[in-house]
Amino acid sequence: MDKPVTVYEPFRAGLPPMREYAAALWSRRTFISEFSRSQLREQNYGSVFGQLWLVLNPLLLSGVYFLLIYVIGGSSDATRFGHLTATLFLFYLISNSLTGGVKAITSGQRLILNTSFPRIMLPISATVIALFKFLPTVVVFMLIHVLIGLPFSWQMLWAFPILLIALVMALGMAVLISCINVYFRDISSILPYLTRSLLYLSPILYEAENISESIKKFEIANPLFYLLDSWSRVVVHAEAPVTSGLIHASIWAFSLFLIGCYIFLSRERDFAVRL
């Protein structure tokens, strides 16, 4: 009988056959998109007001910082406000990916227990949702950029590769943390402290050049530090990023992605009995 044959045998450790896995993941791309859309709908982003909130939320956030910097702080430095909003919006792309990713597997229990599909699809979906939420903030930032008179140049095109690095990092983090949460369910409770620490340790409320060299040398351990610094240089100052900063961010992003994927893929066949 001419039927495709699938063989299931015990696995000890290590990765599944990658070619087949990638093909299965690619064939499920429509489901990833539809699943992400349904999750957004569940969070009320399907309605007009929900979609409006995607724009209002970053506007309100930048409004709060406008109040802090211009009104309470008495500053008239447009660059500082631009830096704060730009880096904060990119930071939210990563933190939303992390917060969505942490429960991607544990909340997908019914799917995992009853359907055979590449499990990595679930944290990918969390990053896709974070990207959907990030895109309106780009529009808001562009408006702010024009309104406060920040410079424009061709160097701003560096924003695309930097955004790609940010996405790889966000995905790597989501994949890794979703897997860890299967084994330690309280990771999701610890996560807000982790993201808050990252917020304060990264150049968002301050610019990278304003901190001392003695402190800056420790920032090599912060995956976001040079990523956000490069982002700020490009989209706020309209300058080219520093090569070493770009390399640092890339190494962190791809390391997190590769390590996250390796741990996830070598463990995912265990998820159905752990949930």
Partner: protein, 268 residues
């Protein structure tokens, strides 16, 4: 435990759809319902065990042929659903080998992938995509799904407004249009009203063709006897018996009754 060679199959045998050889499944699971990092830290140095090993299936051998409608019976915890999950590739075996010849569709739970905040229409797409259908296939089959579900205009209402019966009807309808080589159904008939139960039963009967293998897990022994042409009985992960439905169901009933009287004797 009875080996495969002990059976005389009365129905016509076709090519093998599923071959299960020396299948065992043991898995390590957390003792706590929700394992936490905090609990792990607190127990550091105390030598406390965090995991336990569960043997879900033990040395199961089984061939399922095309044209067969195989019923799987057994008490709770017998390993029925686990066996289905191994055959459908959801859980890998610990020992042995499973070969599946053809496409598999599983109906292990109703409404997998559904999102209650979306309309029935959206969920047809979501559930269909989760089941492995393509968007084009769902487009093609949408009218049939909607008609089978008998939801009428409610198909465009959010699913959170549905009754449990309406939910089950739509979920079964999505699964019922898939026409795979091997269809695995686990307790799917236990929901919905009597009329819809009959309709779903008839649909399953329609799916009984010579070029398809159906595997049906259920506690409803009358349904199993009605639909299946072959039954296996699992107990504590072991294959106890395989044969024609009436024989296996009778043996299973006797076993359950004997166990009941043994436990009531102990109570006395």
């Amino acid at each position: 435990m009875i080996s495969l060679s002990d059976f005389n199959h009365t129905h016509e045998q076709h090519g093998v759809a599923v071959s299960v050889r020396d299948l065992s499944l043991t898995y390590t699971t957390s003792i706590e319902k929700k394992p936490t990092l905090k609990a792990r830290f607190k127990s550091l140095g105390r030598g406390k065990k965090h995991t336990r090993v569960i043997s879900a299936l033990s040395d199961v051998n089984l061939d399922i042929h095309y044209g067969a409608v195989l019923g799987i019976i057994g008490s709770n915890g017998a390993g029925k659903s686990t066996l289905m999950r191994v055959i459908s590739g959801i859980v890998p075996p610990s020992q042995g080998r499973v070969e599946v010849y053809g496409s598999v569709s599983t109906l292990l739970a109703l409404g997998v992938g559904f999102n209650p905040s979306m309309t029935g229409r959206d969920n047809v797409y979501l559930g269909g995509l989760a089941a492995g259908m393509s968007r084009e296939e769902i487009d093609r089959d949408f009218d049939a799904i909607a008609e089978f579900s008998e939801l009428g205009e409610a198909i465009d209402a959010p699913m959170r407004t549905y009754s449990s019966g309406m939910y089950a009807r739509l979920a079964f309808s999505v699964a019922a249009v898939v026409e795979p080589d091997i269809l695995i159904i686990d307790e799917a008939l236990s929901t919905g009203d009597a009329k819809f139960k009959e309709k779903s039963l008839n649909r399953i009967k329609e799916l009984r063709t010579a070029d398809r293998a159906l595997i049906l897990v259920s506690h409803a022994l009358a349904t199993i006897e009605d639909i299946c042409n072959e039954v296996i009985w699992l107990n504590k992960g072991k294959l106890m018996m395989r044969g024609n439905p009436a024989e296996v169901i009778t043996a299973y009933r006797e076993f359950v009754n004997a166990r009941k009287s043994a436990s009531s004797d102990e109570d006395v």
